[in-house]
């Protein structure tokens, strides 16, 4: 019995920790945590530190430099103008398509695979393909011209649209996959229940499926947006990197690798992160509005 009482407190402490879920198993987290801290948090903090140590202009010099120069500052707007509509279109187009493809039908796997193929294209092939296909004498314009639909070739490359299309081609499959996955996660009996309650397809969709999909939509939008926001190679290759598609990552790249101004480059990276998180936060905010709005709606 004495032995028991002596060991009791130690067991108890271990137990009290274990009760909170703290025990030796947590050590398994350490490598991953270290990796993220060393390879992500530290560089990010380092970059942030660098951004406050410009060669000239004081602590905020790099930021002043960036925001003081309309040519640099405008890259935020340019990027958002590309990324937001592209992400929006990708998500918006995925919803009805995925909605159609919920159930089981023959050829679903094939169709899914086909829709997902663009993930494999890579920026270069997409860029080359867009330049070839949508270019002034590409098949697309050729067809339009032969069909007499247009007088001269449409300009769809080396401008906003080129980049936009490349964002759609690379972003859509991703958005589609996620949304299909979220949609499949919604219990199909809910819709059937709604049907037996007299709801046609539209009320079923917008009163039941859509509100339930809202969180997934928000997540998908954020991830697609992140992809689009960091657009870099295609903005150079199919865009107009000096003008309409001078996106913020071009500015960052230019600062780091052409002007060798690491401080400015870091500052731009920080600005990128901030803008991006702001958009993500806004989307999540809107989602909570949307959710309550829809549930509170007409009822």
């Amino acid at each position: 019995m004495t032995a028991t009482t002596r060991t009791a407190p130690r067991t108890a402490l271990r137990h009290r920790l274990a009760e909170r879920g703290i025990d030796r198993q947590l050590l398994l987290l350490v490598p991953a945590l270290l990796a993220v801290l060393i390879l992500f948090i530290y560089p990010f903090a380092y970059g942030m530190g660098l951004s406050f140590q410009p060669a000239e202009g004081g602590v905020l010099g790099a930021y002043r430099n960036f925001f003081g120069d309309a040519y640099q500052r405008d890259t935020i707007g340019t990027t958002l103008q590309l990324a937001l509509p592209a992400a929006f279109l990708n998500v918006a187009a995925s919803v009805p398509i995925a909605y159609r493809m919920r159930g089981r039908f023959r050829g679903k796997r094939l169709l899914t695979t086909l829709l997902v193929v663009p993930i494999t294209l890579g920026t270069v092939l997409t860029a080359e393909g867009l330049l070839n296909f949508l270019g002034p004498t590409g098949w697309f314009n050729r067809t339009l011209l032969e069909a007499g639909l247009v007088d001269g070739p449409l300009r769809l490359t080396n401008n906003y649209w080129g980049v936009f299309f490349s964002l759609v081609i690379t972003g859509f499959p991703f958005a589609f996959l996620l949304i299909l996955s979220y949609l499949s996660g919604i219990d199909p009996t809910l819709e059937r229940a709604a049907a037996t309650l007299g709801a046609g397809w539209w009320p079923r969709f917008h009163r039941i499926t859509l509100p339930l999909l809202a969180p997934g939509l928000a997540t998908t939008f954020c991830l697609t947006f992140v992809l689009a926001f960091s657009v870099f190679p295609s903005a150079v290759l199919v865009g107009d990197p000096a003008g309409t598609t001078r996106v913020i990552s071009i500015a960052a790249y230019h600062a780091a690798y052409e002007a060798y101004d690491y401080s400015l480059a870091s500052a731009i990276a920080v600005v990128m992160g901030v803008v991006e998180l702001a958009v993500v936060a806004a989307v999540l905010g809107v989602r909570s509005l949307f959710y309550t709005g829809s549930t509170g709606g007409k009822g």
Partner: protein, 345 residues
């Protein structure tokens, strides 16, 4: 002519029939139970009725309207799903009001009828909660209220109690029965629990492998199952493979594996036929001059004891005893011939 007529309804999945030529007439206000083991096609039948599954063959008529070509939302039936299928993002009140809103009823009426329905299932205190915050029984009641608030001409229920625990199941059973009686709803109820079906339904439909085995009142099924499968399902736990030794108009004598029983034949039988004798445990009692068996397992069941015993040839029997025998005891058992059903094997 009956109020709802199901006429040769067949549903195949990839060539295999999940439901074959179901014919059923339902009267207004009836409570019908579809009963059968897992995979026998109960849900398929219900979904065909609801319009959630298109038919492969056959038709469904309500009075003189053909229903089976209408989409579910236009049939005007209510349905209670096994998994409840409550809308997780809508409060209890909104879940129940949903169907009324779909009908574009005036706001005041929606409110009134929803309130009534909430009261009916005694969920007044929970009206503003989300389904996730309710217990299983409460969720079940929301599902029922949601289906009946529309005053549907027919309510379909797919194993609505199977996710509840034993005590709650008993309570909800009475609840559903009460609702049925007070609202006079025509109901088709799917279950694999014979006790549930017997206690709730006016008429039972027993399915097996997509085919109807028997249709009848609880008494009919309980006392006169049409074949050995129905008997098996109706609690005839002793299904003994035996041989007919003698047939008289009233009594069939069967023997085998150290047993000799007298029973009532179902269908035409002749001496020498291989048969299955079906007896409920409660009809096999310890008594003088019966079959000698050895007690193997004894289970206490409140007032009674359930006993498992074996004949010398190793045939296992389930019976009831009032006094506790010990495992290993040798006893003799008897059965009333009218309670022993003999089916062709």
């Amino acid at each position: 002519m009956s109020w709802l007529r199901i006429d040769g309804v067949t549903r195949r999945f990839g060539g295999k029939a999940a439901l074959e030529r179901l014919d059923l007439d339902i009267e207004q206000g009836e409570f019908i139970a579809l009963l059968g083991p897992s995979g026998c096609g109960k849900s398929t039948a219900l979904n065909c009725l609801a319009g959630l599954l298109p038919l492969s063959e056959g038709s469904i008529w309500q009075d003189d309207t053909r229903l089976d070509t209408l989409p579910p939302e236009r049939r005007g039936f209510g349905m209670v799903f096994q998994s409840y299928a409550l809308f997780p993002h809508l409060s209890v009140r909104k879940n129940i009001a949903f169907g009324l809103q779909m009908r574009r009823l005036p706001r005041a009426e929606v409110r009134r009828r929803t309130d009534e329905a909430i009261k009916l299932v005694r969920l007044e205190e929970h009206a503003t909660k989300l389904p996730g915050q309710l217990s299983g029984g409460q969720q079940q009641r929301v599902a029922i209220a949601r289906a009946v608030v529309l005053e549907p001409s027919l309510v379909l229920m797919d194993e609505p109690l199977s996710n509840l625990d034993a005590k709650l199941r008993l309570e909800m059973r009475t609840e559903i029965r009460r609702l049925h009686q007070s609202l006079g709803l025509t109901t088709v109820y799917v279950t694999h629990d014979q006790e549930e079906a017997l206690s709730m339904a006016d008429r039972l439909v027993v399915l097996r492998d997509g085919r109807v085995q028997q249709i009848g009142t609880p008494e009919e099924l309980h006392t006169r199952p049409a074949n050995r499968h129905v008997a098996d399902f109706m609690g005839y736990r002793n299904l003994l493979p035996l041989k007919v030794t003698a047939v008289t108009p009233d009594v069939v004598t069967v023997e085998g594996s150290g047993l000799a029983l007298r029973g009532t034949g179902v269908g035409t039988l002749a001496a020498g036929d291989e048969v299955v004798a079906a007896v409920r445990p409660e009809d096999l009692v310890v008594g003088e001059g019966g079959v000698p068996v050895t007690v193997e397992v004894v289970e206490y069941q409140g007032r009674e004891l359930a006993v498992e015993a074996r004949t010398e040839q190793g045939l296992r029997l389930h019976l009831r005893a009032v006094e506790r025998p010990a495992p290993g005891d040798r006893i003799t058992v008897v059965a009333d011939p009218s309670r022993v059903l003999v089916f062709p094997a």
